[in-house]
């Protein structure tokens, strides 16, 4: 399809394993019994992801599904164990040399906790102004003026720039985190649970800010959240993950109107709703398995109400079930 804008970020079969360094006793055991496997978490298992210019992709899943790891890999905060990362069609490594600094700064990250992600000993002007000064985007003399402009853009009073983070409320601190990311003029923001810790009335303000910035600066977002209401509100396309794999991906309207994967269906049933009173159903039973020992075959099969023999042995691949709508479920072939 020629109408689609060019991909900005592409991940191809990206995997990430976290291995614990062995302690002395474990190293000794390994000398005696070399067959013992090292404990490893497969946070991501051959994940593909494409984010096109100007798009908002919502990444949704529960704890341990690898959504934050994926976000960090996109934002260069982590390197993948295997697979390819492309920025505008070229490998990330191409931009590692000094000349392409602008391109390297083009992906920025916004973190969940507005308390932990700001240095309590730094003033706002330094938190926001440090990166653009270090990277030579502004001259030191002009820094304060530049920071004032960025703060204004996110709805903070520039007169407060000499204050410390503890002098701000949670919502204001979120805005400081956003200002810090915007200060290096990024094209792409990875927002990892960026509104999760905020009160509802403040969350609405920050979500509106994200929408306004997208328009004004023509930003592209990878918006990571466990809250389907937030994802639905903001995203053009939604990617659903479960235990390190993508299970479904579709345009937001299609995904919420016709979820295909049983896990997605359960999540959509849990969408925050005001009209549902004294609910008396449970969409899925059971606990999320440990990512240290994921179930065989389809990771979802122990909790899936429709699982059959094949699901226990064979991991389903993502297959097209509609236009731009893929789902990894064996039921689609029955």
């Amino acid at each position: 399809m020629s109408a689609l804008p060019a991909p900005l970020v592409e991940l191809r079969a990206v995997s990430k394993r976290f291995e614990r360094t062995l302690d002395l006793a474990e190293r000794a055991t390994r000398l005696l019994r070399p067959a013992a496997p090292a404990p490893a978490v497969h946070a991501l298992d051959r994940v593909d992801l494409t984010v096109r210019e100007g798009e908002v992709v919502g990444l949704v899943g529960e704890s341990g599904c690898g959504k934050s790891t994926l976000g960090r890999i996109v934002a260069r905060a982590l390197s993948p164990s295997a697979g390819e990362r492309l920025w505008k069609g070229r490998p990330y490594a191409d931009f590692d040399s000094g000349r392409d600094r602008r391109e390297r700064l083009a992906v920025q990250m916004i973190f969940q906790d507005p308390f932990a992600s700001l240095n309590p000993r730094m003033r706002i002007v330094d938190i926001v102004g440090e990166a653009p000064a270090v990277h030579g985007l502004v001259r030191r003399r002009e820094r304060d003026e530049y920071v004032a402009g960025v703060l204004q853009r996110v709805g903070l009073d520039p007169a407060t720039m000499r204050r410390f983070p503890h002098q701000f409320s949670g919502g204001q601190r979120s805005r400081i985190g956003i200002a810090r990311a915007l200060a290096v003029e990024p094209r792409f923001l990875v927002c990892d649970e960026a509104v999760a810790s905020l009160d509802v009335s403040i969350q609405a303000q920050v979500l509106n800010l994200f929408a306004r910035l997208r328009e004004e600066l023509r930003l592209t977002y990878l918006f990571i959240s466990h809250d389907l209401g937030v994802i639905r509100h903001l995203s053009d396309r939604v990617v659903v993950m479960y235990l390190g794999r993508v299970v479904e991906s579709a345009r937001a309207v299609d995904l919420f109107a016709a979820p295909n994967h049983p896990y997605t269906r359960a999540l959509v049933d849990e969408l925050p709703r005001m009209d549902l009173r004294r609910r008396s159903f449970v969409p899925i039973r059971g606990e999320i398995p440990s990512p240290l020992a994921p179930p065989s075959g389809c990771h979802f099969h122990p909790r899936c109400p429709h699982a059959f023999e094949r699901c226990r042995h064979e991991a389903p691949a993502l297959r097209e079930v509609g236009e731009g709508h893929v789902s990894a479920c064996h039921l689609n072939e029955r």
Binding site: L228, R278, F281
Partner: protein, 320 residues
């Protein structure tokens, strides 16, 4: 009509800090019948948790209950001695915290902790206490309760720990359970299961439940009645259907409208301007006044609580 199980009247709980007096709970009144579920909803600093802690006598200095009554099963809990509280807590009134590790001791096995909780209030043998514990675990949906009894808290997942904490709260068949955001830290699919089970348990055992949360959709799916709190005051109360479908207080409506799921995707969310007042800043009149579109001169004096049928609202200009 018999007296309700719990009747809170004009409750005031203040913190006396060096920086000034924080009116954490300011003139809160509500009542709760046996077997009913009351949602206490509000944003951070609204006083919802402190209201719950006051009912359980868990207010520590510099906090103090400075006025009002908490009548529970016919007696006033304000001013009970520590010994009297110990007889009540974990027995007639139980608490479930947001973090199950507030309830669970990390270095004791689940069975040790549960047996202790039973025997603190009832003269029964260890074997009988163990049987009761096993029963309680099974009731909250824990598979293989015998195995879990022998586990330590760190062996269990977050959702499982919360189930154990709930089982402990229900051990002595309390008349009232106060739950402070017990599902906030859990994944949505686990939250759904726990909400469903809590609701079932309360209906079956006629236990009254106060569910404290910031999440209106949880209240919608769980509670019979709701109290909306803002800056230490209950601004609106009534049945869930009335309050959520036809809010009378501008704050309640603002809160309902800012929930993303309700609105058309992509459209700007209606937002409440500004932010909650600092707890130290004591505003005369209605505390929501600076953020409210309907505020007038009349809001400079504290509006009285008005009744509309079974519901109450504290606003000089309620939405018709």
């Amino acid at each position: 009509m018999s007296a309700p199980l719990l009747e809170v009247e004009g409750l005031r709980m203040h913190f006396f800090t060096k920086a000034g007096v924080v009116k954490a709970v300011d003139d809160a009144s509500f009542s709760l019948e046996r077997g009913r579920i009351l949602g206490l909803v509000g944003e951070s600093g609204s006083g919802k948790s402190m209201t719950g802690y006051s009912i359980l006598g868990l207010v520590d200095p510099p906090g103090r209950i400075v006025g009002g009554h908490i009548r529970f099963e016919g007696r006033d809990l304000v001013g009970l001695s520590n010994a009297q509280w110990r007889g009540l807590r974990g027995n007639r009134i139980a608490m479930i915290f947001q973090d199950p590790m507030m309830t669970l001791n990390p270095v004791l096995r689940i069975d040790t902790q549960m047996i202790e909780a039973v025997r603190a209030h009832h003269a029964v043998s260890r074997a009988e206490a163990r049987d009761r514990s096993r029963e309680a675990l099974a009731k909250v949906g824990i598979a293989a309760p015998d195995e879990r009894l022998r586990a330590y808290p760190h062996h269990l997942s977050g959702g499982m720990r919360q189930r154990v904490a709930i089982a402990i709260a229900l051990l002595n068949r309390p008349a009232l359970v106060i739950a402070d955001e017990p599902t906030t830290a859990l994944d949505v699919t686990i939250q759904g299961q726990i909400l469903y089970e809590m609701q079932k348990l309360c209906r079956e055992s006629a236990t009254a439940l106060i569910w404290i949360t910031h999440d209106l959709s949880v209240i919608a799916g769980l509670a019979d009645d709701v109290c909306v709190m803002y800056a230490g005051r209950i601004v609106e109360s009534g049945s869930v259907d009335e309050v959520l479908d036809r809010p009378l207080h501008p704050y309640t409506r603002g809160l309902l409208e800012s929930v993303p799921g309700r609105n058309a995707p992509g459209r700007p969310l209606p937002q409440i301007p500004g932010m909650a007042p600092s707890p130290l800043q004591s505003l005369d009149g209605c505390p929501f006044r600076p953020r409210c579109g309907r505020a007038t001169e009349a809001c400079r004096t504290q509006p009285p609580s008005q009744s509309f049928g079974t519901r109450r609202v504290r606003c000089a200009h309620p939405l018709a």
